[in-house]
Amino acid sequence: MIDILMPTIAQGLLWAIMALGVYITFRVLDIADLTVEGSFPLGAAVAASMLSEGYSVAVAFICAAIAGMLAGVATGLLHTKLKIPALLAGILTMIALYSVNLRVMGKANLSLLRIDTIFTEMQAWFNLDNVYTVLSVGAIAALLSGLFIYWFFGTEIGAAIRATGFNQQMIRAQGVDTRVTIILGLLISNALVALSGALIAQNNGFADVGMGTGTIVIGLASVIIGEVLFCTRSFKNCIVSVILGSVVYRIVIAAVLQMGMPPNDLKLFTALLVAFALSLPLVKDKVGARKAVK
């Protein structure tokens, strides 16, 4: 049991960075940003390319984050300057990034076999076994990302971005340029998503141009599972619940696979799970109303 649980939790933590990015756009900015489907493999592609070119792990991560930021800014400019609806702006960037990712890698799949990654370096450093290395890297990454988000959204700029998500009219009347706050939010979100892609690529041992498919749904699943199970009000608790949601999502997936669900049905299952979770507030209302009548 523990043999399966530990790697699953580790996976959940690595993906939690992406889920935090989705949380920023979906819940904080109130935008469903599909850029993540492109920025996730972008982070993977950039990190894998840098590593196989012989750059250090740190440089690879920094470049992946910058690439993700640029992707977010692209969507932000399409949305705020060209007035393209946010959903469509994200789709456009996502499609464009497919080509960009192929160019970055030079091919559809880039292997990291026998190349130093964050995991091999950590393993050499702390002399941990494979599973605990991934677990500790994931835990540190999730913790740092969570702390960063908590700090950033508590600052004046962060508060302005959150207010933009709630009420653009209000924050403009308070002297904030909502174009800037939206672009900033997308930038931070996609930087996190790209970092998560970079982590996953190193953990998988390869980057693949198709690895972004379904990223948004996994992100939404984590955010919503977190909200439903650990539903809390303060911003701090929301961040923690997203991370936990990502872990729970991985455990659920591992459990259904263990019970014999064909892996090919995984995306279908995830989509149904998210649809179910998204409809929960409605179900709760209806049930509540019925109870009230009785």
Binding site: T155, A159, A163, F166, M170, R172, A173, Q174, G175, D177
Partner: protein, 264 residues
């Protein structure tokens, strides 16, 4: 304090829905003027306020606040000079954020936000003091989400947010129209108290003629995108609703006549 000179605004120009909202409108406010604005639907009251606030650009004319020409300044940059309260109580606050967070944003109105922590202890005490003056018990609910407040509480909070950093100009767009009469009266009394205390230059749109007469030192009446009546001081003090209705009918009637003249 505020100089609006010959502004024009036409919506959907050149289409079948063309609507002339403001016609050669000029308005000058002295510092401390508290002006109530009345007029029928489509008279251009909100368009005038929104033009001053920069929600949309005017077609021609000039808007100057405190010596600064802001005609072409975008909305968010005008916030430096202008505090606003809207008709819809939902519009002026961020529902999902705490009272304290909303106030912290308002206290920085017009300043570029930085990477400093948004909340701090010094401001906290100041906000508590200011909330106490509203007398709604909100000072004990600093961490409550604004979405939990009633419409009246939200409007009172929005009013505080619009004035906590003293604005050069306060724009109130029928800010009590969505409230029940009792709450509306409270919010209006609060408005008067704050405007008097800080000697704020204020433009207040209202649908209620009695409120228009009771509050402020000056009253303007709009019709078809123009200011038809502009009374101030003692003349305003001695006006009755009846006088106002008569002036309105007379002014509106005259315009109709001149329209007919133009057409024939």
């Amino acid at each position: 304090m505020l100089h609006v000179e010959h502004i024009h605004k036409t919506f959907f120009a050149g289409t079948i829905n063309e609507k002339v909202a403001l016609q050669d409108l000029s308005l000058h406010l002295a510092p401390g003027d508290f002006v109530t604005v009345i007029g029928g639907n489509g008279a251009g009251k909100s368009t005038m306020l929104n033009s001053i606030a920069g929600v949309y650009p005017v077609d021609s004319g000039k808007i100057v606040i405190d010596g600064a020409d802001i005609t072409k300044t975008p909305e968010h940059k005008r916030a430096k000079y202008i505090g606003r309260v809207f008709q819809d109580p939902m519009m002026g606050t961020a529902a999902g954020m705490m009272i304290e967070e909303n106030l912290a944003i308002a206290a920085r109105r017009g300043k570029t936000p930085g990477l400093k922590w948004s909340l701090n202890e010094k401001d906290h005490d100041w906000f508590v003091e200011m909330l106490k003056e509203l007398d709604l018990g909100l000072e004990n609910r600093m961490t409550a989400r604004v979405g939990l407040l009633s419409g009246g509480q939200r409007q009172a909070l929005t009013l505080l947010m619009a004035t906590i950093k003293k604005p050069k100009l306060l724009l109130l767009d029928e800010h009590t129209a969505a409230l029940d009469p009792k709450t509306a009266a409270k919010v209006l009394a609060l408005t008067e108290r704050i405007v008097d205390r800080d000697q704020l230059t204020t433009l207040m749109i209202t649908h209620n003629m009695r409120d228009a007469l009771r509050y402020g030192n000056r009253l303007i009446m709009m019709y078809n995108g123009r200011i038809l009546v502009d009374v101030a001081g003692d003349e305003k003090k001695n006006l009755t609703t009846q006088d106002l209705l008569q002036m309105f009918e007379k002014a509106a009637g005259n315009t109709l006549d001149s329209d007919r003249l133009l057409l024939s």
